[in-house]
Amino acid sequence: MSSLCLSRLQQERKNWRKDHPFGFSAKPVKDEKGGLNLQVWQARIPGKKGTQWEGGVYPVVLEFPQEYPTRPPKCKFDQGFYHPNVYPSGTVCLSLLNESQDWRPAITVRQIVLGIQALLDEPNIHSPAQTTAYNHYKSHPDAYKRMVAEQVKKYADY
């Protein structure tokens, strides 16, 4: 692992522990030997208050490449996550996470998870990543609402 990638992630970890947005969590996962793997983080992102996503807390895995922070992390929901901008594999399609679009090396983990939270209720109709949610969102708003509500239940925060 490049030392820049590592030292930056350590600092991101420190900053997150010092202060992070309410209701969110994010931390490196444990590897086989029980140590921390700084390049893979498990985050939990709550649906925004006042939106139909409220009430659920959605798990997201952040995978940081060797070239981080020159290149952005890959962010994944569970496979099959219902959202117009999430690929069937769970990968998030977001300009903020696209190296040739809005990604900047100075963007922090905090800004990433807040960006994903905002995307939940504000899908980008110009870059759909899955058929089901995209078609519902575009042409069957009732079905879309129902599916989102079901998913909120699935990920309900107890």
Partner: protein, 468 residues
């Protein structure tokens, strides 16, 4: 000889094997016969600098910004000019008019009191800033721009100091940081220029060769797949597809053939399994996930992954391609095609092998230098033409023209055999050798003309055949 488009003149390829066909001299512009020049990268860079300077002049912008805009527009001056005047060009690289003013100044190294770098989070006193004056540590800047260089991405080299700053690091900033970064940047922009001018510049595919074939405008307008060149390094290749030359058939059939005949499969197994070439620039593209909407990173062409057609024809149908039809007939009559394939590929392979072996006759003791210089290359050339003619025979349907072609092939084949025997004999008779090679040259020339000028009907089964 090539600048003229009358039919006969096109096909004098055997000339290229004569010693007097001098291509070794780069920059030889003065003759009408020249349809290409062999140049080096410096020549390309000079041409690039002229383009950049013209655009910079036209819009009164700085040269580094002109370079970035041209790269974003794939060096299409007309399109850039049009959209620049309409005020849309800057947005394409994520900048505004105000940013453009700021970017007139280059970045600079700064000494500062100890502070924390937003990228590596270490404390630093030596920093770097773009004209926006957002600072990050100099090590992070060097590393970041170095990584951008190696990925070839010079359009999103953004300010490191602040996460929402739009400014782009340009040539001036690379230069301020280090000589290495500057020269790396210049290499990459030249490569970008070369690639987007692929209709007039062809980099020689010869191993280790850095020469570039520059086509004169008259040739750049023509179908390149009938032209073969020989670089100063000795590599001979087709101008259309840059593969080994394949007269008398054209690139599309030749590449189909290479696919099914296995040579390419062996070399590029992974590539063939996992990637498809961009339908416009042929850059190899691997799709890891996502919808069918593809955008080529190299030429920015947008297309559909299923049918490889232009994306605009898909009306935003992201997951279902209306154009793609899996071929139902492919299985039907597959066996008959497979037998034909075998028939022709045996003949193709043996001729290709012979064309290489015949050249080695040079090593033997040989009395007449004249025979060596004339008959040996002619024989090798004839074998190669025969090999590719067999490929043509595999793809075309039966017709009178095909019968004529077959008759020529068998005649040429038997004369080539005779010549090979004469050359391999102990005491070579120079006169019959020269006479035979003269005969073969004429026959082969006529064969090429015939093959290229006939409007062949292609056999559906052959075209769609894929070996299991």
């Amino acid at each position: 000889m090539m600048s003229d488009t009358t039919s006969e003149d096109h096909y004098e390829f055997s000339d290229q094997f004569d010693d007097d066909f001098d291509l070794q001299d780069p920059g030889n512009f003065d003759s009408d016969n020249n349809y290409f020049n062999i140049v080096n990268m410096e020549h390309v860079k000079a041409s690039e600098r002229r383009t950049v300077a013209e655009i910079a002049d036209l819009f009164s912008i700085m040269v580094p910004m002109s370079t970035i805009l041209l790269m974003a527009y794939f060096w299409n001056r007309e399109k850039l000019s049009e959209e620049y005047i309409e005020g849309r060009a800057l947005a394409k690289v994520g900048l505004t008019d105000a940013d453009l003013e700021v970017q007139r100044k280059s970045g600079q190294k700064v000494q500062c009191s100890p502070r924390t770098c937003p990228i590596c989070c270490d404390t630093y006193t030596r920093g770097f800033q773009l004209a926006c004056k957002h600072t990050a540590c100099i090590k992070c800047y060097e590393r970041y721009l170095g990584e951008k260089l190696s990925s070839g991405d010079l359009l999103s080299t953004r300010c490191l100091g602040q996460h929402d700053c739009r400014l782009v690091a340009t040539l001036d900033d690379f230069r301020e940081l280090s000589k290495d970064l500057e020269s790396g940047y210049l290499e990459k922009t030249a490569a970008s220029y070369l690639q987007s001018h692929s209709s007039s510049f062809k980099a020689c595919p010869g191993p280790g060769c850095t020469s570039i074939i520059e086509l004169t405008s008259s040739l750049a307008m023509l179908d390149l797949d009938q032209y073969m060149v020989e670089c100063s390094c000795g590599k001979r290749f087709c101008l259309g597809c840059k593969n080994d030359w394949h007269l008398p058939i054209k690139c599309d059939l030749a590449s189909r053939w290479m696919n099914i005949n296995g040579e390419r499969m062996k070399n590029n197994l992974w590539l063939d399994k996992n990637t498809k070439p961009c339908p416009k620039c042929e850059a190899r593209i691997e799709r890891t996930e996502g919808c069918n909407h593809m955008k080529c990173r190299t030429c920015h062409f947008e297309y559909c992954w299923m049918c490889m057609q232009e994306w605009s024809a898909h009306n935003g149908m992201f997951f279902k391609c209306v154009h793609f039809q899996p071929s139902a007939e492919a299985k039907h009559s597959g066996r008959a095609t497979s037998a034909r394939l075998k028939h022709y590929s045996i003949r193709f392979d043996s001729n290709i092998i012979d064309s290489r072996r015949d050249v080695n006759v040079r090593d033997l003791t040989f009395s007449s230098q004249q025979v060596l210089n004339k008959a040996v290359p002619t024989l090798s050339y004839t074998r190669r033409i025969l090999a590719w003619t067999y490929v043509l025979l595999f793809y075309v349907t039966g017709s009178n023209q095909k019968t004529i072609l077959e008759t020529s092939v068998s005649d040429i084949e038997s004369h080539a055999e005779t010549l090979a025997e004469l050359l391999a004999g102990d005491e070579q008779a120079a006169a019959p050798c020269l006479e035979l090679s003269g005969y073969l040259e004429t026959r082969v020339e006529n064969l090429i003309t015939h093959a290229l000028e006939t409007n062949w009907k292609l056999d559906r089964n052959s075209l769609t055949y894929t070996p299991s």
